[in-house]
């Protein structure tokens, strides 16, 4: 069932591929990510060294995000599935979800990652360390707390996914929509150094 939907989807995509381009920006010069120390959902330390020796797709969000974050996670999983047809397994990027709302995220992150049942790493930690990484990727977030007792606040945050190369350098940014097939093709070209400059 899923396969046939996927097939129809792909058919639709290949027909409409031209109209569905990827909102990507390739940096003229790769920018190294600065050092930071965060913690993964399983409690292990996550630093810049975990960004090395593999490609990374990093995006920021929060566990209480009802719409954008689950959708982006699902999209990036679909991108990985598409990419697995195009690149060797060692080039398949890891997906990293930077949770920027530690007051609510720290406790939930492990269950959150498990809930999706897909391959990604959730990281969070001290506000100052989160901010280091957010700054590094030229990202932004703002907790929209109405007051100290507001438990249901939204978080305004950057929409873009940051592409980090195996040297731990930012090489590209991709903005929504993340159409799985097109984004995978875009990334496959990018990782091979065959970028179409935009």
């Amino acid at each position: 069932m899923l396969r046939s939907i996927l097939f129809i989807l792909l058919l639709g995509l290949s027909v409409g591929a031209k109209a569905q381009s990827v909102n990507g920006v390739i940096l003229e010069e790769a920018v190294p990510v600065r050092e930071f120390t965060l913690t993964t959902q399983s409690g292990s330390t996550f630093t810049k060294s975990q960004l090395k020796e593999r490609w990374t797709l990093l995006f920021l969000g929060f566990t209480h995000c009802p719409d954008v974050c689950p959708f982006t996670l699902a999209n990036l999983e679909a991108v990985r599935t598409e990419l697995s047809q195009l690149v060797s397994p060692n080039k398949l990027p890891q997906v990293v979800f930077l949770a920027v709302d530690p007051d609510r995220d720290t406790e939930l992150l492990q269950e959150y990652v498990k809930h999706f049942g897909i391959s990604f790493t959730g990281i969070t930690g001290q506000r100052a360390e989160i901010d280091k990484l957010v700054e590094s990727i030229d990202g932004f977030y703002r907790l929209e707390k109405a007051g100290p007792d507001d438990e249901a606040y939204d978080v305004t945050h950057s929409a873009a996914v940051t592409v980090i190369n195996p040297e731990g350098e930012i090489t590209a940014k991709i903005s929504p929509p993340f159409h799985p097939f097109n984004t995978a093709n875009y990334l496959a070209r990018h990782m091979r150094g065959l970028d179409v400059m935009n």
Partner: protein, 179 residues
């Protein structure tokens, strides 16, 4: 050993707050000015079709759920969607996610126009119904009722399917692709 986690306390405080809200405001609703009508049996609007109503199961500890759907107005009059209600949640709102200068944010929509003979699609990164305060835990495969309230206070009834968090993806895109 007795251990009360911060999260448990927060959840408790939140539940109490929601209960107070529920008592003072009646069943889940967004918008206002129709609290009186609610005591009467709502009139069901005819000529409307809701399809694809689904809600990704929220992660444990998350007290809100997004609902996506397609609403077809088969009548010859434009209508306004002014509120959403569900017996399974404490309250609900219509929300719009928008991207401005690369930033994603979410804002309430006071009323949503559904033009005559047109379909409005609520889908990820666009419009969604946000339900707050689930009255019990939902997992993929569950269903819950939803009521869309029009400006003439008529209700459109729908059943929402709870799906796995990634399951809105294929349909949402497929629908878009086929247009």
């Amino acid at each position: 050993m007795f251990h009360v986690s911060k999260h448990w306390l927060a959840a408790m405080a939140w539940t109490i707050a929601m209960l107070v809200l529920a008592i003072t405001h009646g069943p889940a609703s967004a918008g206002s000015d129709h609290s009186n009508e609610k005591k009467m049996q709502p009139i069901e609007a005819s000529g409307f079709t809701v399809t694809w109503a689904k809600s990704p199961a929220p992660a444990p500890g998350v007290n809100s759920a997004a609902v996506y759907l397609m609403l077809e107005n088969g009548t010859e009059k434009d209508v306004q969607l002014v509120a959403v209600e569900s017996d399974a949640f404490v309250m609900g709102h219509i929300h719009k996610t928008s991207m401005t200068d690369g930033l994603m944010s979410m804002a309430p929509v006071a009323q949503l126009t559904v033009p005559a003979s047109k379909t409005v699609t609520l889908e990820p990164n666009g419009l969604h119904i946000m339900l707050m305060g689930p009255k019990h835990k939902f997992t993929a495969g569950d269903q819950f009722p939803l009521s869309l309230v029009l400006d003439n206070s008529h209700h459109i009834k729908a059943v929402v399917n709870v799906v796995k968090p990634g399951d809105v993806l294929l349909h949402g895109h497929a629908d878009k692709m086929m247009n």
